[in-house]
């Protein structure tokens, strides 16, 4: 009995391991447009079947996003973009903290958008890039009745670990660049450490409010 459960545990671990590594190896060969489409459809499928998520369970969405979406984002690049000129002035330690806090903030606030997903149609536009390109934009459109379709554009870069998204435009608004003035203002008012503290406080407040 004991032996069998150990084997079961081992094989479960192996399966988990395979599961962990599989996305990476697939990502290396998956073209960026196919990657966006697969991940989007997979996540939407889960959301549309999950009553708890639809009822507004943000923690559950966050764990879903953590598992399915975040591996395809490059938060260091995103943070650098949002920081602009100030990025060069940050120490390695400050950069690590900024990436950590910015990631938490983006995930927490935008994951909640998924809870309001209902039956919008997604249209995946063909990629306009050469096969040799290492930096492309993937265009997706959300169709809603009575509204102009909403464009979602993903700027993606090719890395050793597959294609990673580093900037997202929704209806022409970069959710990353929109932070640049806010970040710069905080740094001007106090310092980079001051900005880190503000982000930490904000994340703590959001986390507390969700509970």
């Amino acid at each position: 009995m004991k032996r069998r459960s150990t084997i079961g545990l081992l094989s479960a671990l192996l399966l988990c391991g395979a599961g962990l590594f599989a996305p990476q190896s697939i990502a290396e060969v998956t073209p960026p447009d196919a990657l966006v489409k697969t991940v989007t459809l997979e996540v939407l499928d889960i959301v549309s079947k999950d009553k708890e998520i639809q009822a507004g369970n943000v923690e559950k969405v966050i764990s879903l996003v953590d598992a399915k979406v975040l591996p395809h984002f490059s938060f260091d690049s995103m943070t650098a973009l949002a920081m602009g000129v100030n990025w060069r002035k940050a120490t390695a330690d400050q950069k690590t903290k900024l990436i950590q806090e910015f990631r938490t903030l983006l995930v927490r606030t935008y994951a909640s958008a998924l809870t309001s997903y209902r039956d919008e149609q997604f249209e995946f536009l063909p990629l306009r890039a050469k096969p040799t390109d290492t930096d492309v934009t993937v265009n997706v459109r959300v169709i809603k009745p009575g509204r102009q379709p909403i464009a979602i554009d993903y700027d993606m870069e090719k890395t050793a670990a597959g294609w990673k998204c580093y900037n997202v435009y929704v209806a022409g608004v970069s959710l990353v660049l929109n932070y640049r003035t806010e970040f710069a203002n905080e740094i001007r008012k106090s310092s980079i450490d001051g900005l880190i503290a503000v982000l930490q406080q904000k994340n703590h407040r959001l986390e507390a409010a969700a509970k």
């Binding site: 490059s74 260091d76 690049s77 995103m78 650098a80 973009l81 602009g84 000129v85 990025w87 060069r88 950069k95 903030l105 983006l106 606030t109 935008y110 909640s112 958008a113 309001s116 536009l125 306009r128 890039a129 050469k130 040799t132 390109d133 290492t134 930096d135 492309v136 934009t137 265009n139 169709i143 009745p145 009575g146 509204r147 102009q148 379709p149 464009a151 554009d153 700027d155 870069e157 580093y166 900037n167 209806a171 022409g172 608004v173 970069s174 959710l175 660049l177 929109n178 932070y179 640049r180 003035t181 806010e182 970040f183 203002n185 905080e186 001007r188 503000v198 982000l199 904000k202 959001l206």
Partner: protein
Amino acid sequence: MLAATALAGGARMLVRSVLVTAFWLLAGCATVQNGDPRDPYESWNRAVFEFNEGFDEAVAKPIATAYRDLLPYEIRVRVRNFFSNIQDLMIGVNNLLQGKPAEAWSDWTRFVINSSVGILGLHDIASEAGLEKHNEDFGQTFAVWGAEEGPFLVWPFLGAGTVRDSFGFAADVAAAPTRWVTSDAAVQWGLWGLYLVNERADLLDAKTILDESAIDKYVARRDFFYQRRRDLIYDGNPPRPPRERPPGRDEPRAEAPLAAHEPAARTAPRSAEAEPAVSGALSQDDAPFATAGDAL
């Protein structure tokens, strides 16, 4: 954007009187140090912004929330479609004024199809038939004509805009198709009310997300406004500056051709002389930095 955030507004007289009084109030306002050069009246704008937020929290949002909870999604879509349909008329006019007759024709065809087959616009049959919905207003038309955008302004009740967009909004209201639906003032007011409540209800989640994600709500909203308007003026195809690369990348990277970054051009690109009308993109501030290769 103006129309979307306009909650209590709508009456031409209100717009006119607010425009005039606020203009003179603005004239004597102090500027904010180190602020955005597009926003010289920031301290005044912030005060109005706070007032609007208070009004939204106390009046508009509760009404919109009740409306959303009361009416099923199916009905709210019909309301949205109804207004969307009558707006297609002026969207077509604006497309024509911007030199896009094909788009104008498409908008009016949408109106004819949706008004008849779609039963007074309640059903957006035209979109299903492949006639895409557009987003145009007089503010965009003025921009295409090359009008200067002027400073950033936040109006009581009406929300954010530039001087150019404020004139555009006044023109939008003056030409609003609600008056073609009926000449009865009470019904017109009712239609405006329904439209605004329905719009606000549609934006409940989006506004919460935007506010929650912001460090400084005012700045976040202002930058959002500028990015969004720029996208609308260029019909979703704004010229992006030499592509902004995330800084901190050591390995040299092949420069992707610009064409790859621009979504399919639905219209001919704006001519160069129209460009000064659009304020610098957010990303242009730090353009030289885009190529910096400092270590992470």
